[in-house]
């Protein structure tokens, strides 16, 4: 937002107004929601002004998704809730499709794109889905989409298939599509675009692109609600932010006046000590594992050593190949090559398998929590116990009583909430599910623990718990490999960071050089990308 537009705060209701007397684009009042006996939303109020980018933050389980879903009409709020758009009352509970007709559109994390269809077809998806359209004029549609892309300075060929695009381009398309919908339904210069965590899978350059798109959306007069976890991103892009905690309104702040710590305090409800590792690897410790000439496209000729007790970060832009390294070491993908030396033995990676790797004390926690790491429809205990089942055998077979006790103890140790071993994994928040899956591998006391994006979509409080667990494992002698695009996280836990570009290790950061800014800069520099954020689109 440019300074000349700085709104004045209205003393009567506290809304920052650019034009005196203007009504908020969206005002939701007294929104409550009860599931069973739990009040997941308790009298929440949110006001978003025209042309404002408004952040919505909160820990997992704080009620932000429920709030968004209530506006979308997926949940019915408790009686008494009000929704006012540009000074006019809107129905709550929201009827199906009502939000869209009122000019409110949503982009969810999964983006709702069809990977096998072209960009053009995806842009038209909503029209095709609801309209009875017998005579689609593809030429005209293509021209329209091209014009839209032109307006937002998006350089994507409408005829490419979505599956061939980078994640950041996909996000741009989804947002572009939603915004076109807003313009169509609300009229020019009005409407609300709600982005529900669109950034966690994006590299920094992707986030910048996305933000410049958001800026052109609000420059047009529409408003944006951005749900996100990353406080720095919220501070960069939003005008104001509303923080929810345990279903209640924790506060609304003017983003540029609030510090990182202020945000965390509002989210968690108390001062959080950010975990920080000593950043000093112990060079006297023996080498735990050596990787030589690892190849797993696009990673090529990657060699490094990792010492016992060392926490080594691997990072780079998406597509730089760093995230393929743990997969290849674990034998999780077939087309890889190279050798792994561990425990005095040498293993060819093209003949590696997860079972063999586990036999050597290697553990791997994939990023895709409920797709590759754990099974949502099975219980906490069943998920956690899988690699150590042999320890719970008695004469009669598996001893479920003993398992229950063990899993409960692990739950206390790693602060899993709720600590109910028989509860399904999918009923837990992202952070707690991750604690379960981390415990699954930590209990095996691995020699080499490999983590892929270990805190993706995990709130700031749960993150510190996970970092402590990782640190504790390293103190016990585990070598830990963390593959992540999250520079802040790497700066918090790593002893050493390897930055990848085009499949190669290009930079090594150690000691005091491991800072969030350094990691981000090196990541971009390595790719020859501009470090300056992209110029705003006028």
């Amino acid at each position: 937002m440019s300074p000349e537009q700085a709104p004045s705060v209205d003393l009567k209701d506290g809304f920052p107004r650019r034009i005196p007397g203007e009504a908020p684009a969206l005002l939701a009042r007294n929104v409550s929601k009860i599931f069973g006996t739990t009040k997941v939303l308790d009298d929440v109020t949110l006001a978003v002004m025209p042309g404002e980018v408004h952040g919505l933050l909160g820990a997992n389980g704080s009620g932000k998704s429920t709030f968004i879903k209530t506006i979308a009409g997926l949940h019915d709020p408790e009686p008494g809730a009000e929704l006012i758009l540009y000074g006019q009352g809107a129905p709550l509970p929201m009827p199906a499709g009502g939000a869209r007709r009122l000019g409110i559109s949503f982009v969810h994390q999964h983006l709702a794109l069809m990977p096998s269809l072209t960009v053009l077809e995806n842009m038209l998806l909503n029209d095709l889905a609801v309209e009875q359209n017998f005579n689609i004029r593809w030429g005209k549609a293509k021209k329209q989409v091209a014009e839209t892309f032109e307006r937002f300075d998006i350089k994507i060929d409408p005829m490419t298939r979505v599956q061939d695009l980078a994640q950041s381009d996909r996000a741009l398309i989804a947002i572009c599509r939603a915004f076109e919908e807003v313009r169509l339904n609300a009229g020019a210069g009005r409407g609300i675009l709600i982005l529900d965590e669109p950034t966690p899978f994006l590299p920094k350059s992707g986030v910048d692109q996305l933000f410049s798109l958001v800026r052109s959306v609000v420059a047009d007069g529409a408003s944006v609600i951005l749900v996100a976890h990353d406080i720095d991103e919220i501070r960069e892009i939003t005008d104001r932010a509303t923080i929810l905690r345990d279903g209640k309104l924790a506060g609304t702040v003017v983003s540029e006046q609030a510090s990182h710590e202020d945000f965390i305090e509002l989210i968690v409800g108390e001062k959080v000590t950010m975990f920080q590792s000593a950043r000093t690897p112990d060079h006297s410790k023996p080498i735990a594992a050596s990787v030589r000439k690892l190849r797993a496209s696009p990673a090529e000729n990657v060699s490094f050593d990792i010492r016992e007790g060392e926490i080594l970060g691997l990072t780079g832009l998406i597509g730089s190949g760093f995230d393929r390294v743990p997969e290849a070491i674990f034998g999780a993908q077939k087309d890889s090559d190279g050798t792994l030396e561990i425990g005095g033995q040498s293993f060819a990676l093209n003949a590696m398998s997860p079972g063999k790797a586990m036999g050597q004390g290697v553990a791997f926690l994939p990023a895709d929590r409920l797709g590759r790491a754990g099974i949502g429809t099975l219980s906490i205990a069943e998920n956690m116990i899988l690699p150590v089942m042999g320890d719970f055998r008695n004469l009669l077979g598996i001893d479920w009583g003993k398992i229950n006790t063990h899993v409960f103890d692990m739950g206390r140790k790693y602060d899993i909430r709720p600590n109910r071993p028989y509860q399904d994994l999918k009923s837990l928040s992202g952070g707690n599910a991750q604690k379960v899956l981390m415990a699954k591998w930590l209990q095996t006391l691995p020699k080499l623990l490999m983590l892929d994006e270990p805190t993706q979509g995990v709130d700031v409080g749960a993150r510190q718990k996970l970092f402590q667990a990782i640190d504790e494992a390293s103190r016990k002698g585990s070598a830990v490999l963390v593959a992540s695009t999250d520079a802040e996280q790497l700066a918090q836990i790593c002893h050493r960071v390897l930055v990848f570009a085009k499949g190669q290790i290009v930079t090594e950061l150690t000691g005091a050089d491991i800072t969030k800014d350094n990691i981000s800069q090196e990541t971009l520099r390595a790719h020859g990308t501009q470090t300056e954020p992209k110029q705003e689109v006028a």
């Binding site: 599931f35 069973g36 739990t38 997941v40 997992n60 389980g61 704080s62 009620g63 932000k64 998704s65 429920t66 674990f330 999780a332 398998s353 997860p354 079972g355 790797a357 586990m358 791997f364 994939p366 797709g371 590759r372 790491a373 754990g374 099974i375 429809t377 099975l378 069943e382 899988l386 690699p387 150590v388 089942m389 042999g390 320890d391 719970f392 055998r393 009669l396 077979g397 598996i398 229950n404 006790t405 063990h406 899993v407 409960f408 103890d409 692990m410 206390r412 140790k413 600590n419 109910r420 071993p421 028989y422 399904d424 999918k426 009923s427 928040s429 930590l442 209990q443 095996t444 006391l445």
Partner: protein
């Protein structure tokens, strides 16, 4: 690998609270079975509610119990086996051809029949795992292929004259007034119950079924698990075939195939009971007898035989719908 020691002994895990709704759900099918039984008992006191009828139901439908148990193994590990009924039929026919027509001793004929089952399982697994073809397609094709083979083997005729010893061992001998076949089926269910719940093998089966990628990345040899799961399904189907030959004292090339749908219905209906949401042997046994009571009672009431298909087909779809409902309800996620 050792489990990590924790020095926290102060708190003990909470006992699972008694949740009456979930208990009601777990035993709803058992209750329904009893209600159905007593309705027919009241309507037909002289025919249905007699010991000979009850014991015949228990004994003669042991075949269906075996076949349902065969099905739930690959269903648990995430594969469909549509060839179980055809495997049953060809196994029964193998016993009949070898024993009655070629005069081989009964044990040889039985072992050969089980061997046929093992081969079918291995062939299914080969096409599913090596060529990565969906199990539904492979077993549909193999099942039809086996039907053809059975018709060819038997010249499309029923073959009788199987060694009487088999009949005696299956339905001829009674223990507490119930044919032995029933006890065989219960023993099979008990074995599977133990394997599913109390062995690492059973856990692996479940993990492979619920998430192949998760299982693979947890060090489970997914293909091996699926292979043995398909193999055991076919071998148990063969046992069902042998029991079937013993139950009717002959083998015909067609009637075994009609067991496919009731077995699926029982497997899915059984998954709504005892441990809802999971294929389980005890639920399967209850489901089989629920279906059997329904069919027997309706038939005795003089309702025409088309009602069988109404009952089988209806209960399959209803069972799946019920289990889907149970799953939906769990999805209430907060946050």
């Amino acid at each position: 690998m050792t489990a990590e020691n924790t020095n926290m002994t102060a708190a003990t895990p909470p006992k699972r609270q008694i949740n009456w709704a979930s208990i009601a759900e777990s035993y709803a099918l058992v209750a329904a079975l009893m209600v159905l039984f007593f309705i027919f008992a009241a309507l037909l006191p002289t025919t249905f509610f007699t010991w000979p009828n009850v014991s015949t139901m228990l004994g003669s439908q042991a075949v269906l119990v075996f076949l349902t148990l065969a099905l739930i193994i690959p269903l648990t590990s995430g594969d469909f086996d549509l060839s179980v009924a055809a495997t049953l039929t060809i196994s029964a026919m193998t016993v009949a051809v070898l024993n009655a027509r070629l005069g081989m001793p009964l044990p040889v004929a039985i072992i050969a029949a089980l061997g046929v089952g093992a081969i079918v399982g291995a062939v299914n697994a080969f096409f599913i795992l090596f060529f990565r073809i969906p199990s539904l397609i492979v077993t549909l094709g193999i099942g039809t292929f086996l039907n053809g083979l059975t018709l060819w083997m038997s010249n499309s005729a029923t073959i009788g004259g199987i060694d009487f010893a088999l009949i005696m061992a299956v339905v001829g001998t009674r223990l507490f007034g119930i044919p032995l076949a029933f006890y065989y089926a219960i023993a099979m269910a008990a074995i599977i119950w133990y394997v599913f719940g109390y062995t690492a093998m059973g856990r692996r089966l479940l993990f492979v079924g619920r998430g192949r990628e998760v299982a693979r990345l947890s060090g489970i040899q997914v293909d091996k698990v699926r292979f043995f799961s398909l193999l055991s399904a076919s071998v148990i189907s063969s046992i069902a075939g042998v029991v079937y030959a013993g139950t009717i004292g002959a083998a015909d090339p067609n009637s075994g195939n009609t067991f496919l749908l009731p077995a699926f219905a029982a497997a899915f209906l059984g998954a709504t009971a005892i441990t809802p949401g999971r294929f389980n042997p005890i639920g399967s046994v209850v489901a089989v007898y629920f279906i059997v009571i329904g069919i027997t009672g309706l038939t005795m009431l003089g309702i025409q035989s088309f009602v069988q298909n109404l009952f089988y087909g209806g209960s399959l779809v209803l069972a799946v719908a019920l289990s889907q409902l149970a799953r939906k309800r769990e999805e209430q996620q907060v946050g």
